[in-house]
Symmetry: D2
Subunit: 367 residues, 4 copies
């Protein structure tokens, strides 16, 4: 079990390495009848494409997606959707040196320990390019959710400690910020920090936040397959994520019951809603009908030009300085990845939740 | 898929409600030949038993475990280990009122939305008693890991914002603190905070930390089944957990690459080790041989005596005050649950990791 | 992965050995709202109880089922249904000799090879008593299917080569035959064969047939999770089953396309139906709306009193004669087991099939 | 869950339709260090290629495989192996008529019922071309098994009732027969039958047998994940398979215990072996060290030129004659598919079986 598959019903399997022929994904279990084409998927992929701003590597990667199966006459057929992005730039020479030593903060050492050797070119399977498959699959999930009135949106919440001011943030501004921060003032300050750190040959971490709006209540299973448990796995499975929280998250640990509990009330139409949303839209592992809110902590880019101490494969202690231009921050390009994993997970659990009640199952089959 | 099973090889399935005949667990896939008896499992269960300190409900629950299958002549046989704790105190009358309204912070509303009705007695399936099965299974996992030189230990890191001082903390002191805090000075201060909050009819949250020592490198799969991703799911699946982090976790988001990267060096015996452990023992989803460190944010007990606003099943807005004695804090009793889920997850991934290399597989079967 | 769980959504996990405290099952993923009580489940279990006819062991086993969780106010709650049958007669002395040698046709040798030792009492985990859990779970599945108008019925098709005459068979007669053969004339002849073989200290095999009526079209997934593939696994997982076939089965291999193809036509109400049913109700792995028909080949009881050659655990060649009264035929008691596994599998695939079409998913959630 | 994935540890996911861009497979969980290249995989694929004999469609399909990931420096890396065969001949015009009606014996009707519409070109996902992915994955599995001394070999056992004579059959002759029958005399007679049926515009079924040699004892799990249960699913999941049997299979149902039981004895080297192999190498779901033997019943090709009655999508009864040249028999080309699914399943269960014993697990990690 190399664990390249995620999901129970809506199953996503990614494949490919940074410097192989390409990277791709199989989406198995996408329901039939969703309108889908390459152009739509491409729009999602473009959000993680490098070379868009000066904070991402200037490598030119077109990352054009091809859909190879599962679509007929413009609609999903219910069979596996295979999507591939062929690798164009494969300057393996850049990476020959890496084969010899273990980069701090990377998976070089653990791959060698696990497999006995590794494809050292560009990080191989642990390259950020693996997330192309996730985003392509996420595009399918988001489009399906959207058709049901459910939207998923991620953005940058903080960079190197500079956080958005929720009072000032406007989700409509996300695409105006090169860092995808919905608070443009914070975005400006974060840019300055990034400049400084780039000059210091250093890198910066940050926090991504994701919201799911229009979510029906009743999605998620009550014990191990809680919606929040699966979201935690989905998001933590993204490279560089070191923490996940739902709703108030770690702040809830410093809080009191009288503050943290969300009371219920009636809205104008008589529906039951929560007065507040400290829980982040999930109670007992099941969606409660309010917005789902999660946050992911992203560590700084481990590839830095600054001199670092490490060892080589022979176990000799050496000093290294990682060559090549690398993103000084992972966060902006990871925003759409967090959004994608959230969408995949939410859709999967939504499909699972259709089997919870005898009366609804009977009604379904009595068509 | 009600999702009551966790794990790929070492599979844990819990069952039971707070006020049914009992709660239990099936451990399927435990390897044959592990020495195990009820007394050993009981020691783990005693750590979550209520009524041990004044910070937990005075309900007297003996919680005596019976092993019903899977053991022969004192050893596991490789077949399912069924363990049960029969419910003794089932004062259902206490809970009749709850049937009518939705308690803030509880799963009452979401269960009703999902299933159309719910077993309202004592929280039913979302009761804390469900974790008895997790701890019994965790006992099996921990005993097996221990026999391989791997230890798992959880403790309280902070309560209501009062955190242990790592410099002062001594893991040997954990059991001396009624709150399982390894820093007795912090423990004393946390007790005072708890007293105050109990007087105010309020409750408190906190953070649990868990360490895995003696972990071999190479455990965890590189993409969706990352060791940290599975740990995040395992721990987030515990009721009341609102966040999970590995190593530096959310602090890494405010950090820089030059700080966060862990350099490699040689130890006295010539083995490769990391100089620091900001990563928390996992790189690229795979264990790196250093200690695994994770933290879980636990929300305050939602059941508080203080008056709260909510609605009843008819959608009428009401005010409630939750009767009965409830733990003013979930953290101390959840410590062993976090430890159990960590042990279950680590063992499961360790078994999966045996299938990573052709040469080792050949050697295994050439016995 | 000891593999004690079956199913994707409707998940069945059995536990227990012949001579442990009991045998049981967890049904996880049963939808909420099904009326269910112990009396109903007991009726299914009574059909596999020993001591009912002279063709089954005279051991008195009451096999009374207890439901321990998952039911509230007479209905399933959607949470795990734990059911147990405690073992009453545990005359372990009968089995002490078996510990020393490998019975032909039994799993003694393979358990020892796999696990290093085995619980030798009464077959341990490979005992026929394991099927109690399957039948209890099958009862739940059948009751749910029945509420949707889908019936599952198994019966004996042949014993030692004596087969029912389809023209003469009447499913209403099944319970009139001590061998559960719907053709009473064939049943009489099979009884005479059984008498003879019992006198010769020998045992007999046979074939069980199972029909599913009222099945909607569209159930089953098109590639690896074909309905017939899962039925084959479900039924072949029953001890002593050596073959499974669907529709014409092995006879189709000797047939020609012009004979084997089922043409489509319209019925009186204008619905599309098949003119014949050589396919056994499944085309391309998906139910076609006609009856599902499968057959299972059951080997003769391996425990026979006649002298047999084998080896003991020390590898010495010996002659044995298996003591105790054993069923001279497995078939009659396995009928309800085949029916149960069929029901579990069909229900599981029916729940999975709810997620195949976008338009139906939208309609479901637009409630 | 469209169910396009097979396996627990060695996971195989196929994708693609007959007339899309191509068909392919992801093998996830292949251990690192296996020597593998496209040439090796191609040899397996060539065995199912059409146009090899006059009994298969004269369509020229090169079916050249490309490995897109998972190999580095000639060896598997432990990461997903993506393999693709691009479709070359896509004469969709041939199939436009099929869109309008339901072919008897095909999945046209059931796909429409399940998904609301279907990709009607060449059978879409239920096309025989889907098995290209299975064979490519089977090649990987067989190569790995071979490196461990385990061989898997399938061949034709009977065609239209003409069976090989086991006394005369020689496995070395398989490739000399255009029908892959190891008894050349039977092969000659089967060819005559095929000629006759082709002249009659009809098609023929048959039986494929598969043997696994060099199998260690102890593989397979004792309850639902029995080795034979998984083999039954693996093989029944191949289109056109209507029955599966292990060892004596359905003949065991007509047999007696004294005949069917396999006694144990010592071989010349003192090892315990079975004197006979009626069980087909599996006892209690676990391999017993003797050869594994299974058989699959294959129905006649459903596409026949002879006039057939059916209905169109409007429900009107019509007569059709299926145009184009179709294989008059599926069996020869399916031989390598049965072999592939057997290899995939056996390897997967062999990897799972590494986690059965504490002592062996400890030894593994004490490296």
């Amino acid at each position: 079990m190399a664990g390249s598959t995620f999901g129970n019903i809506f199953k996503v399997t990614t494949w490919g390495e940074s410097h192989g022929r390409g990277v791709g994904v199989i989406v198995d279990g996408c329901p039939a009848g969703l309108e889908l084409d390459e152009k739509t998927v491409q729009q999602y992929l473009n959000r993680r494409k490098p070379g868009q701003t000066r904070y991402s590597t200037p490598r030119k990667e077109e990352d054009l997606v091809e859909i190879q199966s599962g679509i007929f006459e413009g609609k999903t057929t219910g069979t596996p959707i295979s999507m591939v992005v062929y690798n164009k730039t494969q300057r393996s020479s850049d990476y020959s040196e890496i084969a010899q030593y273990y980069r701090p903060g990377h998976a070089d050492y653990t791959f060698d320990q696990k497999y006995g050797f590794r494809d050292y070119r560009g990080g191989g399977r642990s390259s950020g390019r693996e997330t192309i498959g996730r985003v392509a699959a996420g595009a399918v999930a988001e489009e399906l959710l959207k058709s049901m009135g459910i939207t998923v949106q991620a953005y940058t919440r903080s960079i190197g400690g500079i956080a958005i001011d929720p009072g000032r943030a406007d989700l409509a501004d996300i695409m105006k910020s090169p860092l995808y921060m919905p608070d443009l003032e914070a975005s400006d300050r974060a840019e300055i920090l990034l400049e400084n750190k780039m000059n210091e040959q250093d890198s910066v971490g940050g926090i991504i936040e994701c919201m799911v709006k229009g979510m029906p209540a009743g999605v998620g299973e009550p014990v191990f397959e809680k919606l929040d448990a699966n979201l935690a796995k989905a998001v933590m499975s993204i490279g560089a994520v070191k923490g996940v929280e739902i709703g108030d998250g770690f702040a809830a640990a410093d809080s009191f019951g009288s503050q943290d509990n969300d009371g219920f009330r009636k809205d104008d139409t008589g529906n039951i809603i929560k007065s507040t949303n400290h829980a982040g839209g999930i109670l007992g592992g099941i969606s409660d009908g309010s917005d789902i809110i999660l946050r992911a902590a992203i560590k700084p880019t481990p590839s830095i030009a600054r001199t670092q101490k490490t060892v080589n494969r022979n176990g000799e202690e050496i000093e290294i300085s990682i060559k090549g231009r690398h993103d000084p921050i992972i966060v902006p390009r990871a925003v759409v990845v967090v959004e994608s994993m959230t969408a995949i997970c939410v859709l999967d659990m939504l499909l699972v939740a259709m089997t919870s009640r005898v009366e609804l199952i009977k009604k379904f089959w009595d068509r």
